[in-house]
Symmetry: C3
Subunit: 426 residues, 3 copies
């Protein structure tokens, strides 16, 4: 089994929520791939309009029928427990039990995923088609959970670059056993992190956040938002990125940031189908990153987006729903996007009046009218012709219809020939 | 018979022209629905490049053949007389008569509608297919009309709102017995006027003009144009609005005024087919309202537009060409547009940094991940997220794909919760 | 035979290159149609990053087999010699010969067109399918050419207009016997020149350049570029304009110059298929005209563009590939474009408040509601309504959906009526 699928196998059974040991265990495992520092925010800490809730942990849970048989068992699927359920252990009537059972009639064979973070409740989530199995009058329910003062845990990784500008990758680690939403996110982000660690001379600083969704990004922004506002040039929320569907890109609120332009250059010039959506204020943590006060340049490159596929937020969003090849293509695509941003810059030339005699610089074949080398000459000519200090490499790549990072060789040649001035520090 | 069709029946037979008693009688009848004040401009009054013409009235007209039989009779259709025909009563040869007969060979069964306001003529308009009935050598013609110094009459209604800004509704009342162009216009406008009178707390002032086309709006603008320029935020020329065809919207000259944006929001999000046309300098009174010196924000929401349907300006543009249901849908649509403009504003929020915790305000379900209330939460989130003082409610409704006036409840809730600041007076 | 095809017949056999007597002879023949002044730049003259090369001339060339039979003969096609081949006369082995033979396997029945201007070489270009005829072991090759200090020759024509602004027409005269690329260019340009000479009162000055491609325009710009920068309002590189394919327009680098707007008005409103390309830095002399430092308003209206058709740069781009009717339509289209630019201007009106009473000026029928004269009234109304000093005649023609030069009569009438102010000198 490949390392990436082995990682998935290890992370999948863990019962994560917005707080608790499942989060810590998940971060510990990811830390084996790339160094992730855990930070904790205490219960009761205020963050903007929100407050860090109590920490929730769970050991076991079940429903037994009157014969004492476990008919619903947390050990079979942690989705069976309503997230953040308060502890309970008692016998009760069928009627009372039914007030605590949640199903999704539209997906009758799936266990729905439900939570009650901010109102104390207990409950079980069951396949709608199994309701008929509840034939007895009396049941025993047990949820062996704790809801106490504690901490909300986040993970953070960092790679230092040569400039003072930063790129943010953010994913979430608060969902129990589901694959596309959410484990594809932490897995893709962590491998991306690992591969970037291997690169030298990165221009940008890279920050990798692993947060419980919503409350995690709000807490993080309450501490670090102003710093991000100052340094961030691009960012992505990495989620729903493991299935075989075409890519979906949700733009940043501003819509024309480096984050948006780099992804669109890669998608448009890769012969893929893809969909582009304008930013909207529902979704994942880009709701917070792009909120009015921050308005950070953060988009989200996904595959089957949250809320758009039937298996979403059910037990059918399982390991079969995603694939190793899709995960790897997603990692590769995010890497292409990052290379594009690393490469991107505007250039100027001192050869403004008529084209340089390229053969003098070894950049043009001496035998005219041959079709060989046409593409390379085209690249060279475009990079020179648009070295106006306004068009950047992404613009030029878009004119050429290529992914920007394919221009790296031609760019080096032009700089080495003195035909392009190296970019000034900005 | 419904009130609206009864109104049509009463107005249809009246012989209107740009001046004369037909105009006054029409305004008297409409005044029964909503108060319309008549104003008169005297013959000879200058208005820009134009002069108020003599007043024209007509009692009767006919052509008799040599047996004394009326073969063309004003009482059968007032379209038979060339508009503004000078009086005549004489016997004449067929050849001489034919110099005064107008037909439309392209619509051979219809009486064409023709006028000669600014050059003195007399004439009869006849179905092209009836020319063969003119077999005699001698005829008697009579047009019992007067063309004398008098007045040009216009009608005006007004509803006072709470702001000092104004919305203009303008229609024309100068065509004889034709239904889509023009009686649909005065009927729709007057019912709109009636329904707006029933509303409380209108933000805008509403002005309703009933004018003879062209000369009427030029005369009105010569007296009131500067005031309109100062106060008008939107306006519509209401014409050709009674048949069952899809809506056609002709934009204001500026193209992006409140008038344009409100109509387009309503049409785009109502699952209707519709057509949008850029402003052009032929057409109806928007020619004057949008002339360079005024350039008022006036568009025109129509159905089958003037000049585009075969029955236009013929006796076949009759009561069968329009329908009660179309008239009512037109009134409803103009009301939607007006509600959209009334509702529209830009908002700001003091919750700029991360989203407000909506459940604290009763605006979010406490049980996470449920599909219920999704649309309402989406509305709430959009209204909050774009409360940037720049996007207005129409912009936000367009992002949501809804008609703006559907957002009124969500908007009230957000204002009442303190999550949106009430709009400052502007 | 028509004059235009006779001209083609006379020019076709001449062996042109970027220097030499072929260029001079070509300009001499074109000078019979319209006066063309020859200018010469000496070998060694620097021009920006380039230097004028030695002058190349050729008398004869052949390859003989071991029986002394000419198997490749310059007199059959001047394409057989690699352009700028150095002189050679010797016996050599098949193996050595093959190092000097060029073919195009993708077009095996065509002689490819190749040159080596800037590296001294000799060679022959042969149909790929004829390689099998080279069965002998020994051959005699002869190229009776000279490559010596001399001159690069260009041609220039000029028509003086009433303003100080200039329009540039530029074509190239450096290709041996090929028809679409390039003889269609000099032929169309010279007839355009001839027809413009017959016109009176041209507003713009017209400059006609006949240049060896690339080095010719670079040399010209090194002497005259600053003057062109100051005076040029539009220009076109005329090339690949003789075949029957639909028009292709390559925009100027700026993309919205008078050059671009005039061509697009003509193409869009002429019921033709056509293609529009954004500027790109490969192609013909617009590479130099539009280089960053000059950025002149120069586009290129072509038919089958260089590099896009199989016959390009081969012996199959011959007289059969182009047609008299296509050449004539091309001339006519360039003339339409020029008339559009001559006519184009912005106007103002003193009748800004409501429309003028057009019948007072004889510009409107006195009988209302007739369909006659509708198009003329529409033209008049549009020209008046958009006389805002911002929309120019091309803008107005685009709104009307007509070629701008169709508006000349209506424009004259409005100016003569005093309804438009004559354009101020600019």
């Amino acid at each position: 089994m490949s390392k990436i699928m082995n990682l998935l196998d290890r992370l999948f059974p863990i019962c994560r929520s917005i707080t608790g040991d499942g989060v810590r265990k998940t971060l510990d495992i990811l830390d084996e791939i790339a160094p992730i520092k855990q930070k904790e925010y205490p219960t009761g800490m205020g963050c903007f309009d929100w407050t860090i809730p109590k920490e929730w942990n769970i050991n076991d849970a079940y429903i037994k029928n009157s014969q004492g048989e476990k008919i619903v068992d947390f050990n079979e699927s942690n989705l069976h427990v309503l997230g953040y359920s308060t502890p309970v252990h008692k016998n009760l009537s069928k009627e009372e039990l039914m007030g605590h059972i949640y199903t999704n009639p539209e997906m009758p064979d799936a266990i729905p995923y439900l939570t009650s973070y901010y109102e104390e409740r207990w409950g079980f989530c069951v396949e709608h088609n199994r309701l008929e199995e509840f034939e007895d009058d009396q049941y025993e329910v047990s949820i062996d959970s704790t809801l106490e003062d504690g901490y909300l845990t986040i993970g953070e990784g960092y790679i230092e670059g040569t400039s003072d500008k930063e790129i943010l990758l953010s994913t979430y680690i608060c969902h129990p056993s589901m694959a596309n939403n959410e484990l594809s996110g932490p897995i893709v982000q962590t491998y991306l992190y690992k591969y970037l660690l291997e690169k030298e001379d990165l221009k940008y600083n890279y920050r990798f956040l692993y947060l419980p969704e919503t409350i995690g990004s709000i807490a993080y922004l309450s501490k670090n938002g102003e710093q991000l506002k100052e340094k961030l040039v691009a960012g992505y929320v990495i989620t729903c990125i493991g299935d075989d569907a075409p890519f979906t890109y949700k733009k940043s609120r501003r819509g024309d940031t480096l984050a948006d332009r780099a992804v669109l250059n890669v998608l448009e010039n890769s012969n893929r189908d893809y969909e582009v959506l304008d930013w909207f204020p529902t979704g994942s943590d880009e709701r917070q990153y792009c909120s009015l006060g921050f308005n950070l340049p953060v988009g989200s490159l996904m595959r089957s987006m949250y809320g758009t596929y039937d298996e979403y937020h059910t037990s059918l969003d399982n390991k079969d729903f995603i694939s190793e090849s899709a995960l790897k293509e997603s990692i590769k695509t995010y890497l292409d996007v990052i290379e594009t941003m690393e490469l991107n810059d505007t250039y100027t030339t001192d050869h403004k009046f008529c084209e340089p005699k390229l053969d003098k610089y070894g950049l043009y074949p001496t035998l005219g009218s041959q079709k060989e080398n046409e593409d390379r000459v085209k690249e060279i000519m475009h990079l020179w012709a648009y070295a106006d200090g306004e068009n950047d490499i992404i613009d030029i790549a878009n004119k050429l219809g290529v992914v920007a990072n394919e221009l790296d060789e031609a760019l080096d040649k032009l700089i080495n020939s003195g035909l392009l001035n190296p970019p000034s520090d900005k």
